[in-house]
């Protein structure tokens, strides 16, 4: 299996970055071999990259879990510890709706937050490929490529206007 190498190019323009991505595709790099690190969120459309589409399953699951907890509190516990008042039903719907709603929303919000944490692999303290210059109006194009095409990749990045091209090292953030 050919050895892989990481190469990082720093750009000042989003247009030049998109051109470089296109040229790297022509060289044979796949979308998953390339990544953009940016301090300003340029959209996938601006960069000419495929947009990620995902249904927020975990948010929905969180909401369902919250609803289940609410159901347990409002009905489950009342059935376990019934307080009989004037012939009224022990578990009542109108007064339970409030807690169902609140805990469902809490579950939804927690589920959404946990999805972000899980999908992004947070918290991460491992050394990573990174360049703090992204906070100085730079866009970093990070690519994994075969050692055989290393020179071509570097040439393409420079030709497309990269201000600096180098082999990054994983470092603590």
């Amino acid at each position: 299996m050919p050895k892989k190498i990481a190469i990082m190019g720093l750009f000042t323009e989003v247009g030049a970055t998109a051109d470089a991505l296109e040229a790297l595709r022509v060289l044979g790099l796949r979308e998953e071999d390339m990544n953009i690190i940016q301090g300003v969120p340029y959209t996938a459309k601006m960069l000419g990259r495929p947009k990620l589409h995902e249904f927020p399953w975990f948010s929905i699951l969180g909401a369902l879990a919250g609803f289940a907890v609410a159901l347990l509190l409002t009905w489950g516990t009342l059935v376990l510890y019934p307080v009989r008042v004037g012939g009224r039903p022990i578990p009542t719907i109108p007064t339970s709706i409030v807690l169902w709603y609140e805990l469902t929303m809490l579950g939804l919000l927690l589920g959404t937050f946990l999805t972000l944490i899980w999908k992004c692999g947070f918290p991460s303290t491992r050394p990573q490929y990174y360049d703090p210059l992204i906070n100085h109006s730079r866009i970093a194009l990070l690519c994994d490529c075969d050692l055989r095409i290393e020179t071509d990749v570097k040439r393409v990045l420079i030709e497309r206007g990269a201000e600096k091209v180098y082999e990054p090292e994983r470092r603590p953030l």
């Binding site: 990620l52 009342l78 510890y81 807690l99 939804l108 959404t112 972000l116 999908k119 906070n135 109006s137």
Partner: protein, 474 residues
Amino acid sequence: MLAELPRKFGWPHEDNPQERLLLDPLPQEEMNRIMLRPMFRAGPGWWLVVALLASVVLVCFVGAWAYMIRWGMGIAGIRRPVFWGIFIATMVFWIGISHSGTFVSAILRVFNAEYRRPITRAAELMTSFSLICAGMFPFIHLGRVWTAYYIIPMPNQRQIWTNFQSPLAWDLFAITTYLIGSTLYVYLPMIPDLAMARDHTSGWRHTLYKWLSLGWRGLEYEWHYLHKAIMIFAFAIIPVMFSVHTIVSWDFAMSMHVGWHSSIFGPYFVVGAIFSGVSAVITVLLVVRRTMRLEYFLRPEHFDALAKLVLIFSFSWTYFFFNDYLVEWYGGDWVGHQLLLFQARGPIAPLWYAMLLFNIVIPWLTLWNKRIRRSPIALFLITIGINVGMYLERVIIIPGFLQRNSLPFNWGDYNPQWPEVSIALGTMALFILLYTVASKVIPLIPVWEVLEGQLSHTRRRIGRTVVTSVAELE
């Protein structure tokens, strides 16, 4: 002759792009510097303010509460029939202030109001801090606070079980949901700014930001999931916000007490909360702008827009107030009439007239004027006045209304005692203290959101004029 006409009438009209933050870009590193510089400098003045606030919190809040725990609730002015006093009024006030962040951030985000960008974080922080202040009052009001665990649903020998059908239990869950949701909502958009701060710091600050930024690098998928999460939060937190103050209003409206038992109380409380919350945002932003020298980010356009919102909410609050008042007046119920007379001519009349002055007369007479909306001193005074007025409203509705009820032999007066006033003042100091300390740790301006907004704003010529054009980035 005709060609001269446009010039004569001040055409071609072009607004000054320098006045608008999103049309006045600076390099990213310069913006970061403007935001970080005041965070990393704490002069003697700042330490003095913190020491002063901490002392007030210690003496007025912790000290008075400890004194009350030592001697019991009897030292408070709460007597039959006024069983809810300053404590509950202050709790409702803080929950009202907490609506600032969600309204300014979530609703304006959902509606793509671009002027929100530099002001969201400062507003969201207010939500979390004011909810912390609000959340303490049920425990303070409890008196014997060590028995607070009775409200936790768990099998026990006392055969006591939490009544989940009670508005007070709903309140606990609503405030908890809102506190957790709004704290996460302030944290999420902060992650890229915390990473930016991490890259500009060393020592303990670097370690702190490293942990808080969770290892954020700014990869495409990180931005994607962050945007998605922020949008879900923005949509979900809005109904939660409405529910919180509605449920707070139900603490009163679900009872059969005259003046409280009203179906309009939910929206009346929500509108009042947003009214006081947005006013408080203006007050805080004016202080932040001045003390942290953030004039580049916080411009007259932002205060102008927020002041218009305040005026609209003043109209809305007046509408609900009048609705509530007129129905009671027209209804002809004798006790209801006595309650209205009690407000207009009784011992709480000065509070009632002050409320009308601060919440209606002053905003209506001033905020229609663009120069006033852009004047920091005028806005500061008007918004402080509104919050004084809104605090008085809560005092009138809660201990005020409780003094008159359906059993005239059971009428009574309420005289707040020093521990109550002291604890209420102590939470004011606590809120300011939390905010002052946070301003040195948390980037109060979401720099990446401002940069994103500047990307989408351009100027284009249409006919004789040049107008601002906003692009949909997604």
